[in-house]
C-alpha cells in the first residue's frame, strides 16, 4: 500500500463515459424531466442497458442489484474498489442530473439492507428480479422515515405482529424515494415501541401485498423528476419468509443495526451525489466567468470573484476527499461510520454553498431556467442533500459519539 490518488484505468474510463453521456444526452433533457415530474421509461431503459454494458451498476447502492457484486467476497470487493468506483460513477451521473440518478431502475437504497442482512434465499429472490429488465423496469426502495419519526430512527411507530405464519404490519411511511413504483420496499416496523431498537424488524414488502397502498406523491422543492411517496400499511399481511434475515437474527438489537449499517454504505454515496450537483454549479460558474472575463476590467472585481470560486472549489475538493476516504475504508472492510457521516455532512454543506455562490457569481442570469442553464434547478435540487439520509445535525451526532465513547445520548 501507498498513499495514492490516481484513478484506475477502469475507473477513469467509466468516469469519462458517464461524463460524456451526462453532458450530451442527459443535460439537455433534465429541465423537461423536472417539469414533467418523471423521466420517460424509454430513457431509463437506455440507462439500464448502458450500465449492463459497462459491467457495473451506476444505480444507487454500491454494486447493489448486480448479482456478481452481490455475491462478491471481501477480497474481490477490496481489489476492485467497489464502493469507490460506485461513488465516482455516482458523482458523474449526478453532475448530469441528480433527479435521473434517483430514478435509475434497480434495488436502490433497498439494496444495501438486503445485501447486509438478507438470507441467501432472500438475496436471490429479491435481487434476481433485476437480472433482466429488458421488458419491464423494476425498482427497490427503502422505507424507514415516518411522519412522527425522521432523524429519530429508534422512534418509529409502524407496528408488526406475528399471526400464524404471517406478520401483520400497520402504520405509515413517508418521503420514500421510488416507494410507489417499487417492486418491493424494505420496511422497518416495531413489535413494541417500548423495546426501542430491540423491537425493530425489517420486512421486504412486495408490491400488491394486501393491505399495502400508496398514499400521496409529494410535490417537492427540487429533485422533481424523482418520485417521493407515502406508503400506507393497514393490516398488511407479509409472509414470514419476508422478514429480512429470518427471525433468529433479531435476538439482539440487529434490526436497528441493519438500518444503521446501511447508512455506512449509502452516506458516502449520497455525499458523492451532492458533490456531483455542487460541481455542476461550480463548473457552470467557472465557464460563465471565463466567457465574461474582460481584460480591461479592474482587477479587484475579479479578485473577489476568484476568491469566491476558489472557496467553492476547495470546499468541494475537501468533501470529495472525505467521501473517497469513507468509501475506501468500506472497500478495505474497515469500520467507517464516523467517516461516512463526516463526508455526508461536509458534502451537503459544500454543495449547497456551491449552488448558492454560483448563482450569485452569474448574477441575474444565474436564476433563469433554460435548457442549458440549470443553476436554478441545481439550487432547488441540492438542499435536500443536507436533509435526507440523515440531516447534517444527525451526522454531527454520529461523529461526536465516535469522538467521545462515553457519550451515549444527548
Amino acid at each position: 500500500m501507498t498513499i495514492e490518488f490516481s484513478l484506475s484505468t477502469r475507473q477513469r474510463e467509466m468516469q469519462a463515459m458517464i461524463h460524456q453521456f451526462a453532458e450530451a444526452i442527459i443535460r439537455p433533457e433534465a429541465l423537461k424531466w423536472d417539469r414533467a415530474h418523471e423521466v420517460p421509461h424509454e430513457f431509463l431503459r437506455r440507462i439500464v442497458m448502458m450500465s449492463q454494458t459497462m459491467g457495473t451498476s451506476v444505480a444507487m447502492g454500491p454494486g447493489a442489484g448486480d448479482p456478481k457484486v452481490t455475491e462478491m467476497d471481501a477480497e474481490t470487493r477490496k481489489k476492485r474498489q467497489v464502493a469507490l468506483t460506485t461513488i465516482i460513477s455516482a458523482e458523474e451521473l449526478s453532475w448530469g442530473d441528480a433527479g435521473l440518478l434517483l430514478c435509475v431502475p434497480g434495488p436502490g437504497l433497498g439494496g444495501p439492507p438486503v445485501r447486509a442482512s438478507g438470507t441467501p434465499e432472500q438475496k436471490k429472490r429479491f435481487f434476481s428480479i433485476f437480472d433482466d429488465m429488458s421488458t419491464e423496469l423494476r425498482w427497490g426502495a427503502y422505507a424507514l422515515t415516518e411522519p412522527g419519526a425522521g432523524s429519530d430512527v429508534a422512534g418509529i411507530r409502524t407496528s408488526c405482529r406475528k399471526d400464524g405464519k404471517d406478520w401483520v404490519i400497520n402504520g405509515r411511511k413517508c418521503f420514500i424515494t421510488n416507494g410507489a413504483r417499487a417492486s418491493w420496499n424494505v420496511v422497518f416496523a416495531t413489535i413494541d415501541p417500548a423495546l426501542g431498537r430491540g423491537g425493530h424488524r425489517a420486512f421486504v414488502v412486495e408490491k400488491g401485498t394486501p393491505g399495502f397502498s400508496v398514499g400521496k406523491i409529494e410535490d417537492k422543492m427540487g429533485l422533481r423528476a424523482s418520485e417521493t411517496a407515502e406508503l400506507v400499511f393497514e393490516d398488511c399481511r407479509v409472509p414470514e419468509e419476508n422478514l429480512l434475515g429470518g427471525e433468529a437474527s433479531y435476538t439482539t438489537k440487529q434490526g436497528f443495526m441493519t438500518a444503521m449499517k446501511t447508512f455506512d454504505n449509502t452516506r458516502p454515496l449520497v455525499a458523492a451525489m451532492a458533490i456531483g450537483i455542487g460541481r455542476a454549479a461550480y463548473d457552470y460558474a467557472v465557464d460563465f466567468v471565463k466567457k465574461h472575463y474582460v481584460l480591461s476590467r479592474p482587477i479587484p472585481r475579479y479578485a473577489a470573484l476568484a476568491e469566491r470560486l476558489a472557496r467553492v472549489g476547495r470546499g468541494l475538493a475537501a468533501a470529495r476527499m472525505a467521501t473517497w476516504h469513507a468509501a475506501w475504508l468500506a472497500d478495505q472492510g474497515e469500520p467507517n461510520a464516523k467517516e461516512a457521516s463526516s463526508c455526508k455532512a461536509m458534502a451537503g454543506l459544500a454543495s449547497i454553498r456551491a449552488c448558492i455562490d454560483a448563482i450569485e457569481i452569474c448574477g441575474a442570469e444565474g436564476s433563469i431556467a433554460a435548457e442549458h442553464q440549470l443553476l436554478e434547478k441545481w439550487f432547488r435540487d441540492i438542499k435536500v442533500y443536507d436533509i435526507f439520509e440523515g440531516t447534517g445535525q444527525i451526522q454531527r451526532i454520529v461523529v461526536s459519539k465516535r469522538l467521545m465513547p462515553d457519550l451515549k445520548s444527548f
Binding site: 500500500m1 501507498t2 498513499i3 495514492e4 490518488f5 490516481s6 484513478l7 484506475s8 474498489q81 469507490l84 467557472v286 466567468v289 471565463k290 472575463y293 482587477i299 479578485a303 470573484l305 476568484a306 476568491e307 470560486l309 476558489a310 472557496r311 472549489g313 476547495r314 470546499g315 475538493a317 475537501a318 468533501a319 476527499m321 472525505a322 473517497w324 476516504h325 475506501w328 475504508l329 464516523k338 467517516e339 463526516s342 455532512a345 461536509m346 445535525q393 451526522q395 454531527r396 451526532i397 461523529v399 461526536s400 469522538l403 467521545m404 462515553d406 457519550l407 444527548f410
Partner: protein
C-alpha cells in the same frame, strides 16, 4: 488506484517522528517558547533522524523520500510543537530555493554543509519579503545592478526566518525594473558579505521558538555565479512558494489535530450542569466540525503531495514547466489544500481556546499558544488569499499572474 494507506517505510518514519514529537517536543513547548529557540539536543536529535533532509533528492545529499513522506513528517512535528517545525535547523526553504531555482548542481553545493556531522548547527535563509511597497512599478524595491563582472545588491529584506542565525542567504532582488515580477533575480549571499547587516529579531504573535528578522543590503557585491533564477521565471517562483506552502499546510494539520484532541479530552473531563461539557450538543457539534476539518485537511495535503511528487516538483527536479496541464492541476490541488488547511488550523486554535473557556486564555494550557501559532502559521509561505487566487486562475484557464499569487508588500507579506 486510490489509497489512503502509507507504505510500511512511511509508517515507520511517521511513528518515529510521532514518538520524538510526543516525548521530546510536546513536554517542552513552553521552554522552547521562553528560550525563543530549540536547544542543541533537540536540533541534534532531529538531524540524526534525518528529518531536515528527508525529501531532498539523494543526488544533492537528501534521502529522496519525496514530499508525501515529508508531509507525514511535518504533521507529526507540528503535532508536537508547531513552532519547532519552523525552528529546526537544516536547508529548509533555502535548500528548496537553491534546488528549484538554481538547479541540481547549485542545490548540491548549497545543501552540502547541512549533510553529516555538525549539520544541525547550520541554518540557511531566504530573504524574500519587503516592508516597503514598490510604488512606481510592480516588483521589488531591493535592486541588483551590474557591478563589473558581478552584481551589487541594495535594499532591505524583512520577514526572514532564521535571519539572525543563517550562515548564508538567498536574496531576491529586482534585476530588470521594466519586467516587473518577471524581472526578479536571486543571489546567494554569505552572511559575512561586506555591506550585509542583520536586523534585530522581530517580536511575533506566535511561533516564538522560530526566529524571524531581516537583513539590510548596503551595496553588497557578489560574483556573477552567485546568481540563480536566470531568465526571471516567475512561474518557477510560484512552484517554489507552492512547495513551501504545502509543507506549511502539513504543519497546519498537525497543529489542528493537537488543538482538537486536547480540547476533546478537556471537554470529556470538564463537567457543568452535572455532565461533561462535551455531552452538550453545542460543544459536541463544534468538536465534530473540527474533527472533520482535520481529516479532510490531511487528505487534501496528501493528495496534493502525491500529485506534486508525480510531476517531479516534489523532489525539486521538475520534468516539465508550469504551463504543463498536469503541473497546473497539481498546483491547483496544492492551492486548495493550502487555503483549506490554513483556515482549518485557525478554526481549531480558536475553538480550542473557546471551548476551554477562561482557562484557555491562561498559559497553564497549551491552547492559547496554538491559537497564536495558528494565526502566524497562516502568514507563512503563502496566505489562503494567495492560494485562492492561484486556484481560481488555474480554474479559469488564465496564466498564473505572479502579482496576484506571489506574496508581496503589495498583496500580503508572508514569513518565509
Amino acid at each position: 488506484m486510490i489509497s489512503f494507506e502509507p507504505t510500511d517505510d512511511q509508517k515507520m518514519v511517521r511513528d518515529s517522528v510521532a514518538q520524538f514529537a510526543e516525548r521530546t517536543l510536546r513536554p517542552r513547548i513552553r521552554e522552547f517558547e521562553r528560550e525563543r529557540c530549540l536547544p542543541d539536543d533537540v536540533l541534534q536529535a532531529a538531524h540524526a533522524m534525518g528529518l531536515p533532509l528527508a525529501a531532498f533528492p539523494e543526488a544533492v545529499g537528501g534521502s529522496g523520500l519525496g514530499v508525501v513522506t515529508q508531509v507525514l513528517i511535518e504533521e507529526e512535528l507540528a503535532y508536537g510543537d508547531p513552532a519547532a517545525a519552523f525552528a529546526l535547523s537544516g536547508p529548509g526553504a533555502y535548500g528548496w530555493a537553491a534546488l528549484l531555482l538554481g538547479g541540481p548542481e547549485l542545490g548540491k553545493r548549497l545543501i552540502a554543509p547541512f549533510v553529516g556531522d555538525g549539520g544541525h548547527t547550520r541554518f540557511g535563509a531566504v530573504a524574500w519579503g519587503e516592508r516597503q511597497v514598490s510604488r512606481d512599478r510592480p516588483g521589488m524595491v531591493t535592486t541588483a545592478e551590474r557591478a563589473g563582472a558581478g552584481w551589487k545588491l541594495r535594499g532591505e529584506k524583512s520577514y526572514v526566518l532564521h535571519a539572525d542565525r543563517a550562515a548564508s542567504f538567498i536574496v531576491f532582488a529586482q534585476v530588470d525594473a521594466a519586467k516587473g515580477w518577471e524581472g526578479i533575480g536571486a543571489f546567494v549571499v554569505p552572511r559575512d558579505a561586506k555591506g550585509l547587516r542583520v536586523l534585530p529579531r522581530l517580536d511575533t504573535l506566535g511561533l516564538d521558538a522560530a526566529s524571524f528578522g531581516g537583513i539590510a543590503l548596503d551595496d553588497v557585491e557578489v560574483a556573477d555565479d552567485a546568481r540563480l533564477l536566470h531568465g526571471g521565471d516567475a512561474q518557477r517562483l510560484v512552484s517554489f512558494f507552492a512547495t513551501q506552502a504545502l509543507l506549511v499546510s502539513a504543519r497546519a494539520v498537525g497543529l489542528a489535530r493537537a488543538a482538537f484532541e486536547t480540547t476533546r479530552d478537556y471537554c470529556e473531563q470538564r463537567k457543568a450542569f452535572g455532565k461533561p461539557i462535551g455531552h452538550f450538543q453545542a460543544i459536541a457539534f463544534t468538536l465534530a466540525d473540527r474533527s472533520m476539518d482535520v481529516e479532510a485537511a490531511r487528505a487534501m495535503v496528501w493528495r496534493a503531495a502525491f500529485h506534486w511528487d508525480a510531476v517531479g516538483h516534489g523532489a525539486g527536479t521538475p520534468a516539465s514547466s508550469e504551463s504543463n496541464a498536469e503541473v497546473r492541476a497539481a498546483l491547483q490541488r496544492i492551492a486548495w489544500a493550502v487555503s483549506f488547511t490554513l483556515e482549518a488550523a485557525m478554526r481549531a486554535g480558536d475553538d480550542a481556546v473557546q471551548l476551554h473557556g477562561g482557562s484557555g486564555f491562561m498559559r497553564d494550557y497549551p491552547v492559547e499558544k496554538w491559537m497564536r501559532d495558528a494565526k502566524q502559521l497562516q502568514l507563512c509561505a503563502m496566505t489562503a488569499e494567495h492560494a485562492d487566487q492561484l486556484a481560481a486562475l488555474i480554474a479559469l484557464d488564465r496564466p498564473i499572474d505572479a502579482a496576484l499569487v506571489l506574496p508581496s508588500a503589495e498583496s500580503q507579506n508572508v514569513f518565509l
